[in-house]
């Protein structure tokens, strides 16, 4: 049965990888970008002032509360997050509606002054990252299921891929360039096996992220299908101690000094990640201080809940009391990598890029193999193959170009345009659509060349656009040691050069095809090289 088992797993791997392969590519591109979400945020708000990093938490929190008192005195819940590392670069405030009022809002403040930081309205890197699991334009439930299904298919693809890969360790060191289909297989194998632990982790933890969406009936079997039942389950998993539903009569909020001192005692100075105040200004107010979830992979933090009027400590939650909760938290923590310092973050980025390349090479390999079979024996669906080939071009190259368009739109759409944040995203998806149309209309080989050329222009000119629309051009960034802006520009330039090199190489290959190739087709010589680029760098951001 062994031969049959590996063969059937190869078939399964091929199809689970293909069905939602482009969606998975989108998720990998946006997910990888997500490891630099706050950096991209910063780049997309060039007029934001440098935030002082030495403001005491206590002062920042007080300024945040002053702002909230002014902006949302009747809100049902306030949240204040003082600046903290790369994860929370400014003083963040949020509020949610009061009685019967569902409205909410947020303010991004300068911790030194408590004033709102006036910048252009943009979704920034956070929105790009959010698309990773929320997609865009789709209702929550639909995107949740799509992402869940894609992740499950990816999981099955990984397992079936490992099963089918006979010489998984020996083949790791095999790379045979310039041999068409075989080179693509080698590239796909190398990328996949090199990052296999990461891909397994990221996929399984992705499933765990989505499990409340896609495995809800396990909960329902014990808690019922009603909303009350589901709430009961969630409150048992994520308890909210000392929580009271009603606000009560008006009463003055206690000063935060006492609670903050208690937190400093237990956790050390500067470890409060967020302050949540329920029913501020009422008798049943509750002040909850949370520690940082970004400090360890455990992605969980202790909390202290105080009475909002008397300041008495009502409840304390420590971390790691449940091994099962901890398991979930560690999975999520490893997936998000919030705890990662610069070196580990660079590794996360690299793994994400390699994973993106793994998907891209898999998608292209699928077409190369089919094209070879079709040309040699006439077997297979020409239309299906053409569809996949075109989707590949428009997505593997077209999607990164669309992300570049998102950045172009950020610089070019006027700051006072009312829906500029929405239109930055529209620009991204319109560009992706245009690239798909281009891929459909142009001859296939030309399409690859032209799209890589467009990619080179889109990335290479972005630093120029940046220089023309802001005062933070590359020269200025290098001179002032602004590594974020300099790094962004340099990354775009490197990507542009790589893209241009690909375009040039593909154009050259087209211009001088192996004239005898057609004659040799029937003798089973790999012809992939004449239609597709040889395996090389196809993973781009």
């Amino acid at each position: 049965m062994k031969g049959g088992f590996r063969q059937s797993m190869a078939w399964l791997h091929t199809w689970t990888g293909l069905i939602l392969g482009w969606l998975l590519y989108f998720m990998f591109v946006t997910g990888t970008a997500g490891y630099l979400d706050t950096e991209i945020d910063r780049w997309m708000r060039p007029e934001a002032p440098r935030i002082a990093t030495d403001i005491a938490d206590r002062d920042a929190i007080e300024r945040g509360l002053a702002y909230l008192r002014q902006q949302a005195p009747d809100a049902g819940k306030w949240s204040v997050l003082p600046p903290s590392g790369r994860d929370i670069p400014a003083l963040l405030t949020f509020w949610q509606g009061g009685e019967g009022d569902g409205e909410g809002g947020r303010g991004i403040l300068d911790p030194a002054t408590g004033e709102e930081i006036e910048t252009r309205d943009t979704g920034g890197g956070q929105l790009l990252y959010r698309m990773h699991w929320r997609l865009h334009y789709l209702p929550d439930l639909l995107s949740g299921w799509l992402v869940s299904i894609a992740t499950m298919l990816m999981f099955v693809a990984i397992i079936s891929g490992v099963i089918t890969h006979k010489k998984i360790f020996k083949d790791f060191f095999t790379f045979r360039p310039g041999k068409g289909q075989r080179s693509w297989l080698d590239a796909h194998n190398a990328l996949s096996v090199l990052t296999l632990p990461f891909q397994l982790m990221i996929t399984y933890s992705g499933l765990i992220f989505m499990m409340f969406v896609c495995m809800p009936w396990i909960v329902a079997a014990f808690y019922g299908t009603s909303e009350a039942g589901r709430d009961e389950f969630f409150h048992e998993i994520f308890p909210e101690p000392a929580h009271v539903e009603t606000a009560g009569p008006p009463a003055e909020l206690v000063a935060l000094d006492g609670p903050l001192a208690t937190a400093a005692d237990r956790w050390g100075e500067g470890s409060v990640r967020s302050v949540e105040i329920e029913h501020p200004g009422h008798a049943n107010a509750r002040i909850t201080l949370h520690g940082s979830i970004a400090s360890t992979p455990l992605r969980d933090a202790p909390s202290l809940t105080f009475h909002g009027v008397s300041g008495a400590l009502l409840a304390e939650q420590t971390v790691g009391t449940s091994a099962i909760r901890a398991t979930r938290d560690v999975f999520l923590g490893l997936h998000e990598g919030l705890f990662a310092g610069p070196v580990l973050r660079a590794l996360y980025l690299l793994a994400g890029l390699l994973g993106t390349g793994m998907i891209a090479t898999g998608l292209v390999l699928w077409t190369v193999k089919r094209r070879q079979t079709l040309d040699a024996t006439g077997k297979g669906s020409a239309r299906g193959l053409a569809l996949v080939e075109r989707l590949n071009i428009g997505t593997v190259v077209g999607l990164p170009v669309a992300v570049a368009a998102y950045f172009w739109a950020n610089r070019l759409i006027p700051a006072d345009f009312s829906q500029r944040a929405d239109w930055e995203v529209h620009a991204m998806f319109l560009t992706w659509a245009a690239m798909l149309v281009h891929a459909a209309l142009r001859p296939r080989d030309r399409a690859w060349v032209e799209q890589f050329a467009i990619g080179a222009a889109a990335c290479g000119l972005l630093p120029v656009v940046n220089a023309l629309t802001t005062d933070r051009d590359l020269a200025h960034s290098l001179a002032t040691g602004d590594w974020l802006f300099a790094g962004f520009d340099l990354f775009m330039l490197v990507t542009a050069v790589a893209s241009a090199a690909m375009a040039w190489r593909l154009a050259r290959r087209r211009a001088a095809p192996d004239a005898s190739r057609r004659g040799r087709r029937m003798r089973n010589r790999p012809i992939g090289a004449s239609h597709e680029p040889a395996a090389s760098n196809t993973s781009r951001q």
Partner: protein, 106 residues
């Protein structure tokens, strides 16, 4: 890529092959999903923790069960065996699951 072994039949044209594949896909997707749930619900009783945490543990493990079920559906000799592989364990596990959970709570 080779397809899973086809059922032995007299009229095996391309339509027959795709019907077999589709059958396996349905068995894996829906049959597997059902089997996963029944097995996970039973698994809850095996976890030594409070109910909510046992449910959480079972949910986290459910994807392994689902993956095994899907692999079975495509590795086994025929589409018919794929369905049997989903339906029989589901039926066998559903009885104790139903009994232990006191029937599905409304």
């Amino acid at each position: 890529m080779a397809e899973p072994r086809r059922q032995r039949s007299r009229s095996s044209g391309p339509n027959r092959a795709w019907a077999a594949v589709t059958s396996r896909v349905l068995a894996a997707t829906f049959g597997g999903y059902t089997l996963t749930h029944v097995a996970s619900i039973l698994l809850v009783f095996a976890v030594p923790a409070s109910l909510s945490h046992a449910v959480l543990a079972a949910m986290m493990l459910s994807f392994v069960i689902y993956c095994v079920a899907i692999i079975w559906c495509f590795a086994t000799r025929s589409a018919g065996r794929a369905w049997l592989g989903m339906l029989i364990p589901t039926a066998v596990l559903a009885l104790p699951a139903w009994w232990l959970t006191g029937g599905l709570t409304p």
